[in-house]
């Protein structure tokens, strides 16, 4: 403080009043001007370490004995836990065709092992806290840099190693070693290359198309039997997969894209977009079951309110209004599958979905015709 005042005094005395606002003295170029601020003197001093307070175990030998007893009792308890875990393995075996025995087995062995570990931990901490010396002390940090002698010795060791191995001298040895080390990870790159989807189907095209195409019958999940329009009674909800899904090479991938929910409403309840009037059949509508938010299966259908609820993030879709989003984080309506009826009365798809199903992806905008 005294220095600060001194410096300011010197500056104000030697220069005009205006320059007091920017008092940069030659000797204190780094110090910042206090301006018009009032600098309070630093009244706080380093309080130092608070006085040492002895613990009850330091003062009372009885308490100390008790703490000791607690610690060794815990160690013995841990021992008992270990023995119990071994006994439980034999005492509560996992029996075939008895699921409940797994539960008992896991529970008992788990109790034994956790008792064994927990008791050791608690005992060790209690030992350290109650019985070991606990004087406060300061452990000063030492500089990170080593002494000149140590550093010189380190350089010496490197030099010696270089000389003895001949790494600097025998350049052929060194270069072949570098070559071998560089080549070593190459097999891994070739192996893990298979994880990269780029050499398979174009992901944009894979995400934009499903198994549905003109004439593919709508079939029941999981049996794969075709559905007649007459079987879909009012209020029904059918879980639908495309015909021939079972034979497809990538069954799960295809099902994850092509899953459809089929519902029948009264035709007068449907508020259809003009160009989609031909997409339904007598009140039967088919919508993608894959949520446009993050792709959960949306199948919680309420047959009176005609709401479809996604169980993951509570997006709600209104089936009467071409599945527009009425609540939740989904950004787009569920894609509708255009359906028709074939000569035998079975429901068929008129085409694939006219937009990519499921959640957004970077290139989606360019493939979305809508």
């Amino acid at each position: 403080m005294a220095d600060d005042h001194g410096a300011r005094d010197v500056v104000s005395a030697g220069q005009s009043a205006r320059s007091v606002a920017v008092p940069v003295s030659a000797s204190q170029e780094t110090s910042v001007s206090p301006g018009l601020g009032v600098i309070a003197p630093d009244r706080f001093e380093n309080p130092g370490i608070p006085p040492h307070q002895p613990r009850v175990t330091d003062l009372d030998p009885k308490k100390e004995k008790r703490a000791e007893r607690t610690v060794y009792t815990l160690f013995y308890l841990s021992l008992a836990g270990s023995v119990f875990a071994i006994a439980a393995y034999f005492g509560f075996p996992i029996e075939e065709n008895n699921i409940a025995s797994t539960r008992m087995n896991n529970l008992m062995i788990g109790i034994g092992i956790s008792l064994a570990l927990l008791a050791i931990g608690i005992a060790a901490v209690h030992w350290g806290k109650a019985l070991m010396p606990e004087e406060e002390m300061i452990d000063h940090r030492h500089p990170v840099i080593g002494s000149p002698a140590t550093r010189a010795r380190a350089v010496e060791i490197f030099d010696q190693a270089n000389k003895e191995s001949g790494l600097g001298r025998r350049s052929l040895l060194r270069n072949s070693l570098i070559g071998a080390l560089v080549a070593f990870p190459l097999p891994a790159i070739v192996l893990f290359r298979d994880l990269y989807p780029g050499n398979q189907e174009d992901p944009v095209s894979a995400l934009s198309h499903t198994m549905w195409k003109e004439g593919v019958r709508l079939t029941r999940d999981p049996s794969g039997t075709p559905i007649r329009a007459s079987e879909v009674t009012l209020g029904s909800a059918f879980h639908v997969i495309p015909e021939g899904l079972d034979e497809s090479e990538h069954y799960l991938e295809e099902k994850a894209k092509a899953a459809v929910l089929l519902m029948r409403l009264r035709p007068d309840e449907l508020n259809e977009i003009e160009e989609r009037k031909s997409w339904s059949y007598d009140g039967i509508v088919a919508y993608s079951k894959i949520c446009t938010h993050v792709g959960c299966p949306v199948a919680l259908y309420e047959q009176i309110t005609h709401h479809l609820l996604c169980p993951c993030h509570q997006s709600q879709f209104d089936v009467t209004n071409h599945c527009e989003v009425i609540f939740g984080p989904a950004a787009r309506p569920l894609p509708q599958l255009p359906i028709a009826v074939d000569d035998e009365g079975y429901l068929i798809a008129q085409s694939d979905f006219t937009e990519p199903v499921g959640p957004s992806f970077w290139e989606r905008a360019s493939v979305n015709d809508n």
Partner: protein
């Protein structure tokens, strides 16, 4: 041999066991006859097409249901028309206590049933007599002796998204919910056929009666088999389990951290 003969003679013409045998025969025949007769009457009662049942049902309907559903089932502003809902619908709604409604709300809730089984059947008979609809389920689909594995797959595809994979129920939109499935096999079967309230219909063309039997079998199997993974916390899945881990797991970690850093006194 001679000892046995002596004992026989001492007891006279009748064996000492004769009284017991006679009593047993008497009790068995009385009980058997009663079972036959009562079984017969039960069958007669469940014949829900008898005129007597229909008349009984009409009285009950006029007194308890007509204020909302209309004297001729035509419905009103407070309740839908019941023409063509069938006996299955009445048995489900009344048999599980959902009807009569306690109050208007997002959905009719399960509560202790207000009518005896016989009265419920009478109501069903009356409603069924005024318009064809789904009838009461055939008992052979309710025995729980179907294929639980097939039932499990069908349940997961058609039911689990609302009712939870363990049948523990779940939330729907705007205060509605799919209830936990703890109903009788008949009520489960009827619910699939009629699609009560907001539940979609699963008619016999979608899930055949055998499929429904398999689903009931799976539900009963699931109800009876103990959980291998410990306490199920209501089978509600990640919500209940996450909450438990949040409070008890994190709570324990916080408590241990406090204890570790506290000074010994």
């Amino acid at each position: 041999m001679s000892n046995a003969t002596k004992r026989k003679n001492r007891a006279g013409r009748r064996s000492p066991l004769a009284t017991v045998a006679l009593l047993a025969i008497g009790l068995l025949s009385t009980g058997g006859a009663y079972a036959l007769i009562s079984g017969g009457t039960a069958e007669a009662q469940s014949d829900i097409n008898s005129q007597q049942m229909i008349d009984e049902g009409e009285k009950l309907f006029s007194a308890n249901c007509a204020s909302c559903h209309g004297l001729n089932l035509e419905g009103s502003e407070s309740g839908p028309s019941l023409i063509g809902v069938g006996a299955a619908s009445v048995d489900f709604q009344v048999g599980t206590g959902r009807m009569p409604l306690a109050q208007q709300g997002p959905q009719g809730e399960e509560k202790p049933e207000q009518f005896t089984d016989e009265q419920t059947k009478a109501l069903a008979a009356y409603v069924a007599s005024l318009g064809p609809g789904p009838g009461l389920p055939d008992p052979r689909y309710l025995d729980g002796e179907g294929d639980a594995a097939n039932g499990s797959e069908l349940f997961r595809i058609n039911c689990a998204m609302c009712h939870n994979v363990a049948g523990a129920g779940g939330a729907l939109t705007e205060g509605k919910y799919a209830p936990a499935i703890d109903a009788t096999p008949a009520h489960i079967y009827e619910a699939m056929v009629i699609g009560p309230q907001n539940m979609p219909v699963f008619n016999d063309a979608n899930l055949s009666p055998e499929d429904k039997r398999d689903i009931i079998t799976y539900l009963e199997f699931n109800r009876e088999s103990p959980s291998p993974g410990g306490y199920v916390l209501g089978s509600l899945g990640p919500v209940a389990e996450g909450l438990f881990a949040w409070f008890f797991g994190l709570g324990a970690i916080v408590a241990i951290a406090v204890w570790l850093t506290a000074k010994s006194n």
